[in-house]
Every structure is written in structure tokens, then in C-alpha cells.
Symmetry: none
Subunit: 273 residues, 2 copies
Amino acid sequence: MIPDTLTQGQYDTVYNFLSLVIASQLFTAVFLVIAMPRILPRYRQAITVAIVVCGIAAYHYFRIFDSFKEAFVSDAAGGAGVYTQAVGASFNEGYRYVDWLLTVPLLLLELIAILALARKVQTSLLLRLLPAAALMIILGYPGEMSDDNMVRGIFGLLSTIPFLYILFVLFTQLTKSLASQPASVRRTLSQLRFLILLSWGVYPIAFLLPILNIEGSDAWVAMQVGYSVADILAKAVYALIIFYVARMKSYDDDPEFALRENSKEDAAVYARR
Amino acid sequence: MIPDTLTQGQYDTVYNFLSLVIASQLFTAVFLVIAMPRILPRYRQAITVAIVVCGIAAYHYFRIFDSFKEAFVSDAAGGAGVYTQAVGASFNEGYRYVDWLLTVPLLLLELIAILALARKVQTSLLLRLLPAAALMIILGYPGEMSDDNMVRGIFGLLSTIPFLYILFVLFTQLTKSLASQPASVRRTLSQLRFLILLSWGVYPIAFLLPILNIEGSDAWVAMQVGYSVADILAKAVYALIIFYVARMKSYDDDPEFALRENSKEDAAVYARR
């Protein structure tokens, strides 16, 4: 539940974290647009998806930021540095779900695209992962919007089923595909699944807080900070790791490209291969 | 502490300096985007990072500028040309920390990337410098946000430890790496460390002012001007020097490129080499 009042410190913390997410997503997207020629064409589709994901996230955080600014107003009567909920405005958590509905399937697409698997394997993975991702978000939404813990619990549980299925596919089917990846990126790709587990895991935890009766303004601020950090990890940091993988695979695929893109010392290493 | 009132002159000074920073950062970024083909591909990753740093700084100065405009309103009762703190708005210094948290590690990455060292040396330097930079900013934040000089002092001191460590690495470990750089840029790169020392040194000085009881509106205005100048030096001017180094190294690496990129007179000099 959205708290009735926030202290100056709580207000500033949420404010600064929301702004941090905007800056992180926006400039990760800018970085990737400019850095696109630094990878081979066959990996640029994955990076294009990553740019779109970070762009969509930046857009929604602009909205969340504005919604937050409008929802809380400084209360002169309450003394300096106290913010109360504005009459007729409410903080819109729904933006997060609209964001996730678009970005979560794209995040999985990003991962599959960077693997550059045979089309048949790729299609089979996408047909399983993307609908599951969309279903996970759609089922979570009615729970988030409800003030009834029963409704929240039921939809939370339903939403967990596709989440577990996604993890199952990532940790079993994808493991097989890792064997076909160059040695230089196999470890990074394997760790990327744990970044997904870690950062996506924040959302069900935040979802559970009201059910566990962890409420009040401190819990709410912690939840906003948690969502913000999770979104930075799951989209911006994730995209940069995907870019790193794309670069390593590009060097591996094309020694000429590696020569041009690396320091003279490292280029000598590639030339000797 | 943020002063209760500002004169017209003080208000305009802060206003104009904040705008100067926006223009400097934004158009350094624009310049670098357009100038990217004027350097060899192997140095473009460093310039891409520089563009992102200047872009992030421009974004945050837009926010700081807006926050400043909302925090002070012209006070009719106080007579013409007097600005008082607006009820329910406060100037948000936190944006500076959010900015530094993202840009300071990237500034070090920029410097390491332009050196184009062997990957092993590079990774070792980054693993030491980047976490230290993030730690320095994170430890400074609670001190900046506190009105208690004791808390400010303790966190200021803690934050100084990673700062000194960064300087130590830059002035010892990096010195060794300078030997591998072409003669044409060795002096510039060596001087760049002094630009870091000089421009980064402004921040701890501004941090100390309240502890030294240097308060009041003049001191606050001086601090805002100091931060602004330091940010221009540490990001925009720094980026342009990095670009100059990238260009010199590009000529050095590829005489053909030097021929195309220089005046006919200078090209003749390169041709004789």
C-alpha cells in the first residue's frame, strides 16, 4: 500500500533512485546505439532489442517519476520536510506492469538472439519462453492492483507457475545450447542466467510484502528502491553483458575484425591464432 | 546548508553556471558523436564511454537546473531581486551523487580504454579502480545528506580512503603503462592525471565547507560555481583531451589514416616518416 506520508529523506531517496533508473536505462541505450558498429552484423539484432528494452524502461520511468512527483505534495501544515498524498492524485504502480509486459519477453529474446542458434532451436525456445513471460506479467497484474490479500495471493501463485517454467527452460534446455558457444563467453552466458534469477526474483519478493504484513512507509520506500535496482540489473546491466558477449563472439568469428578493434598487443594475440 | 535567501546577483550566477554546464556537456557529447570517424576503430570504445559520461552529466544538470528553479522563488515582500526558498520545494543535491555514481567509474574506464593496454593489465587496473570509485561516491552520500557535522566528518573521512587509493593507483601503476604509449601522447596522458587530481579535488573541498563553518549564501553560491567548473573540467575538457590522445595514437598506428586526416603540409611530414 502507498503510505500516507513520507519524510524528506524518504521522498528524496525514492526521487533519486527513480532518476538513477532513468539515467541508467537512457544512457545504456545511447551507448549501445553508438557502439553498434563495434560488433559484427550477425549480433546487431540482439543489441537492437536491448536498445529498445532500455528505451521502453526509460520511458516508463519518466512516467513513474512524474506520477510520484504528483502523488506526494509537501505539507506546510505538517512542518518542513513532510510529504502527504495529494488529493485526487495517486501513485501509479500500473506503469511497471505495462513496462514489464513489453520488456520481459524482449529480454528473453535478447538472450536467445545473442546465442545465434540454429533457427529451429531458436524458434522452439522462443515459442516456449515468450508466451510464458507474457502470461507471468498478465497474471501478476490483478494481484498487484488488489487490496485483498486473498486475491493478491492467488494471482501471485498463478503468476509463479510460468516464472518457474521459464527458469526451468533456462536452466535445462539452454544449458545444452551453451556447448555450441565459444569458450570465451560460455562462463558469462552461464552466469547471465543467475543475473536473471537474482534480478527477477526481486519482483515476487516485493509482491509478497503486503501479504506478509510488511507495510508502512519504510517498507514502501525499500520496495521502490528494490524495484529500481532490479530494473537496472535486469535491463541495463544485462544489456551491457549481452554487448560484451557480442563483442567476444565477434572477435572469435572474424580475426580481421579483432585486429582492427583491439590494442596492438591484443591484436598480436589474435593474429597468432 | 542551502541558504534561505539569495540576491538577484547570486541567483543569476548559479543559474548561468548551471546552464553553462548543460551546454558544455551536451555539445561535447554531440561533437564526439560526429567526430567518431576521425579516429581508428580501436579507440572508439573509449570515446563512446566519453559521450555517455557527458550525456549523463547533461541529463543531471537539466534536473539540477529544474530543482534550483523550483526551490527559489522571487519574494515580492522582500523587495525586488530577492529570492527565498519556496515552501514545499527543496534544492536536491542528491542528483550530483547519482551523477557521480554513474560517471566517476566511467571516467576511469575512459582513461584505461584509451591506453589500449593488453587485456590482462587492463582488467587488473579496472578491477581496482572501478569498485574504489563507486565506494568513494557511496560513502560520501550519507555525509552530504546529513546536517550533523560529526556524521559528515566520519563519512567524508571514509570516502577519502578510496579516493587516495585511486590516486595511488593512477600515480604508481599507471606510470608503468605510460612507457608503452607513443611519445606523442605520453606527456598529455601524464598531465591528464593532474587534471583528475585538480578537478576531483574540488569535491572534497566543497564537502568540507560546512564542517569548517563556512556557510551563508556567498559560500553556497561559490560551492555551486565550484562544482560546475569542476564538472566541466572533469568530464567535458577531460573527454576532449582523451579525443586528442585518440587522434594522435591513430596517426601513429596508421600512416595512411594520418595522410587522409591532415593538412597537405602535415601529411608530407607523415609521409617522410
